[in-house]
Symmetry: C2
Subunit: 285 residues, 2 copies
């Protein structure tokens, strides 16, 4: 089985060099020639393959394998990190998934290096790990809000690259995704939350304070992506105004990464005939 890097996957991978987020259409659907209904159908069509591949990865992890996957989801508020998870990772066996949502760091977390808490949350072998926000917050909000000295922020880009390179060397496939929405789309989604009492709990006035710094965040994303877009841990920018495309894109990235592993099923490390005989010859219990 060869690596079936689809058009969609390759369209989303950020090429090395300067990044211009403003030039990426947040409402686009790169690499996919279809509408919403086609996109939803395509994601559902991926599901059986995703389930099968995830089980093979899990089986490999239980049998001495060292591989796993880490999906890093970043994006402005309302960009749909949660909804994506539900629609993609929600397609596979929940036992094979480890999701960690990172909030503002606790006092204990702040007392350690910024990579301490993400290191603790890494998926075990055989699992698909997902970071809903991540160590990138430490060069995004931390940069925009000056939560650390400028030299410390500067230090972090290389620290991230080193940390991710170590992870990759140990067997982790890292899929970094920025869910890219427009400021207009965010405004519409925030207003929609205010119009629906079942969504009030998702609304936080502080999100609007961050929104007012939109250009600063876009700039912080640009710098972060440019400086940490490595061969072993590349960035993908996912146009995310269309929820169906965003879900299909993440589902496809996950599927393609799993398929690239060329996963078989673990061989028996015991004598199958002998075990069968043991069971068939057993004394009454």
């Amino acid at each position: 089985m060869s690596f079936p890097l689809s058009d969609l996957t390759s369209s989303l991978r950020v090429p090395p060099g300067p990044v211009d987020l403003g030039a990426i259409d947040t409402n686009g659907a790169p690499g996919f020639d279809g509408d919403k209904k086609d996109g939803e159908t395509a994601l559902l069509a991926l599901a059986p393959g995703l389930e099968d591949l995830q089980e093979r990865l899990f089986a490999e992890g239980k049998s001495g394998g060292r591989r796993n996957i880490l999906v890093v989801l970043q994006g402005m508020d309302t960009s749909g990190k949660g909804g994506t998870l539900r629609s993609t990772v929600g397609l596979v066996d929940p036992q094979g998934v480890r999701i960690t949502s990172f909030k503002a760091p606790t006092r204990e977390e702040l007392a350690h290096d910024f990579l301490w808490r993400v290191t603790k949350a890494l998926p075990e072998v055989g699992l698909i790990g997902v970071f809903d926000r991540s160590h990138y917050e430490d060069v995004l909000i931390a940069r925009v809000r000056s939560l650390a000295p400028a030299e410390e922020i500067e230090r972090r880009y290389q620290a991230i690259n080193d940390w991710e390179a170590d992870l990759a060397a140990e067997g982790t496939t890292i899929i970094k995704c920025m869910l890219h929405i427009s400021a207009k789309e965010q405004k519409d989604r925030l207003l929609a939350r205010l119009d629906d009492p079942t969504k009030y709990w998702k609304y936080n006035p502080g999100d609007v304070d961050e929104r007012e710094l939109w250009p600063h965040y876009q700039e912080a994303y640009r710098i972060a992506i440019e400086r940490t877009n490595t061969k072993v841990a590349p960035w993908h920018v996912i146009p995310a105004d269309k929820k169906w495309y965003r879900n299909l894109a993440i589902g496809t990235l996950l599927h393609d990464a799993l398929q690239s592993f060329d996963l078989g099923w673990p061989k028996a490390d015991f004598d199958v005939d002998h075990e069968r005989q043991r069971l068939n010859d057993e004394k009454p219990l």
Copy 2:
């Protein structure tokens, strides 16, 4: 909304007093008047309600609520703890679920009290936590295999009751389930794994060693259930030879527990009109 304790839920709850596991038909379907197809349909019909209730619990947890759920799954090898999870917990948003599978304790875990590792794995508020095996192993295999002194095993039953009572007092609804299969069914499932190379990884010759102690395990389960079947953390014995019934049973227990919370949606803790105005009046970004 009153507590809609269904026939199925009440059929499965173990009444206080002596327990006779041998008298419970592992191939039965108590409280459900239907066949496999009906059972599968009934579980699917539960899904939208489960999803909605789980999101409400999650929302409550994000808004100052203290409640959550802990499902404890125990059962002999092949009883279907994993398959159940996939079919029930797999129906809800994976972000709202925390699954922990407990294996033989590590050296670090053994250096602590037996409740240390389960305490660390407790779900946060708003989540559905699942223990695939649990602290009950410390009075099951530990008793059968004499992994601790007899006095220590004796001490643990009350220690468990105290620990669970504290959890319940803090807001956790505890649902303890024994997936009850027959020795014959286990044998068939083990043989089936030996007949299918995609299942070899699930087969462990050590499982047959444990199987040979079947009556001892049944006795250890009986004692554990009798001594820890408390009002705040009751046991359910789930006939599990029929996979469809087992899944429906666990799905229903979870659904009924969530429904008993009478969950609304959190109220806004901000001024909705003011926030709408802030967004509509904002300067260009």
